[in-house]
């Protein structure tokens, strides 16, 4: 919430023709055609999502119409049908893989980011470079041995395989992102803490962690989005027992055929949690996506 809004208004306000401040007030009330354009484009981009949610509340007859129906008697039947098809397991699996991997990412990533920022180790740049380079390794290059290893240790179709891989997938982002938050901690605060004779651990817990906790929350949300949406590992390494929501959705099509209303209900259930997480985290989204390079 904090940074972007106040910054946002400044240059945008400057955008309107260089009128004296008195006139500016009148200007603002005037209808801005570009604002209308923005609304239309925004609604256009959002439309497929809106349509998905809308269709989820239709009966199949209302979903299959050559003229799209906007007015219909809403029903929860399709959601019920999706639950009957065992979406519960997939939801729990997605929830588990997402929550546990995010927790692991934070447990591993926050201390690592600390060691690469406030009390930096030797070769900090090398370590950072390494973390980022793992993100650039295409996942297909690793999937074959991963499949062989995972099946050899009996983790095929086991949710823990995904937990571990999702942790590895998100850890570099978390390290970079958390590091950018740690670097915002004023140096004097640390000095003061160490002069007080506080141990690193105490300084961390009592001084630094409270300061970076919004950063931790934002990092966690970004990890949640990526873990929840991940499909490639899930479809390669799980089948029935450990299937996550995206895999369930694919299987649902194969098993049910194209019943749109049901599909939309399932897709809505798959997409909704992260859309909400993303809306909450939207002001920190850029920071996570750019590895902390843009704030």
């Amino acid at each position: 919430m904090s940074t972007s809004i106040p910054q946002a208004t400044a240059p945008a306000a400057a955008e309107s023709p260089s009128a004296p401040p008195v006139k500016a007030k009148v200007k603002r009330r005037k209808f801005d055609p570009w604002g209308a354009v923005a609304w239309i484009v925004g609604l256009g981009f959002f439309f497929p999502v809106f349509w998905m949610v809308l269709t989820a509340f239709k009966q199949e007859v209302d979903a299959y119409t050559t003229t799209p129906k906007v007015i219909f008697a809403p029903t929860l039947d399709e959601f019920r049908a999706v639950f009957d098809q065992g979406v519960g397991t997939a939801l729990l699996n997605s929830l588990f893989a997402t929550a546990v991997s995010t927790l692991l990412v934070l447990l591993l990533g926050v201390p690592a980011a600390f060691a690469l920022s406030l009390r930096p180790v030797r070769k900090t740049q090398d370590a950072l470079f390494f973390f980022m380079s793992t993100k650039m390794l295409p996942v297909v290059a690793a999937i074959i041995p991963l499949y062989v290893i995972v099946s050899n240790i009996g983790l095929l179709d086991n949710i823990w395989a995904l937990v571990i891989l999702y942790t590895a997938m998100n850890l570099p982002i978390a390290v970079w992102m958390m590091r950018s938050f740690f670097l915002e901690v004023p140096g004097e605060l640390l000095e003061a803490a160490s002069l007080d004779g506080a141990s690193t651990w105490r300084a961390m817990r009592e001084v630094i962690l409270p300061l970076v906790s919004p950063g931790i929350a934002a990092t966690a949300l970004i990890c949640v989005i990526f873990a929840w949406n991940e499909f490639f590992f899930a479809v390669s390494l799980t089948a029935v027992q450990a299937q996550t929501m995206p895999v369930f959705l694919v299987g649902f099509i194969a098993g049910q055929g194209l019943y749109w209303a049901k599909l939309c209900a399932a897709a809505t259930m798959a997409a909704l949690p992260v859309v909400l997480a993303g809306w909450i985290a939207q002001n920190k989204l850029v920071r996570g996506l750019s590895f902390g390079a843009i704030k």
Binding site: P11, D32, P138, A141, A168, S236
Partner: protein, 321 residues
Amino acid sequence: MTTSQLGTERPGVETEAEHVARIKKTQDPGVSRAEGWRRRGPLLPALIFMIVVTQIPFLFTLYYSTLSWNLVRPGSRRFVGLSNYVDVVQDKTFWQVAFNSVFFIVATVLISIVLGLLLALLLDRVFLGRGIVRTLLITPFLVTPVAGALMWKTAMLDPVFGIVNWILPGEGIDFVSSWPRASILVALVWQWTPFMMLLILAGLQSMPRDILEAGRVDGAGAFQLFRELTLPHLRRFIELGAVLGAIYLVNTFDQIYMMTQGGPGTDSANLPFYIYQRAFLGFDIGQAAAMGVVVVIFTMIIATFALRLIFRSFTGKEEAA
């Protein structure tokens, strides 16, 4: 002026250069061995975890790529040296699929950047409900790609019941069958435009106001201001968006899996999808591994460039490290 626009510029925040200086200062002789380990302690679990989970599989990929090994034929595993690579290089499909990969990456990045720039310029204005419009616009990036691709394939592009055909006059067009690559591209652009928009919007909002003001006082027109001041300022952000987008898009898989299954034939497959098919439908481990290695080599070329750029964005200076 552009060097340190990204990242660590806010007052009271240490710049990367200062930070590096402090690392240098603190680590040289002053840091004892015990202190060194105490500092390294928090880093090691993450580092070891990443090495084990990401590097070891890759070493195996290298090893498997020298084997002739079909999973469904037990006892077929034997060492064949580099012959898998020879096969890969001679495989016409591989090159066609590699071309598709490049096409999807380049086209998505370019179109998303242009659209993202336009959207960012719109969102940089003041209008009623701007926050809501921004929220609407980022949603495609958040939606589970599998679900988003499903919507495009069915609700939007279906020949009979799809919305697009309802809007367009004339006979229903089966977009996904007739133009599989273009259809996938639409779904990809829809997903990635919000990403570019967010990055470029961050750039616009970090634009120093007084410079624009000065330009206006000097009598520059809106377009001139944009070309001479805004665009150069945005360059760094656009570059970063292109590079990050490319890194993420190398792994494109979900849309292809959902919309076309790479078909017809392999016309719309990219490398991840083709390798997936070879490994999990053909069970040809050796070949698939060799392709994986080739992909990594390609990616490393982009990545070297990417890493340098990101470090530069982050450090504000090319060789601060």
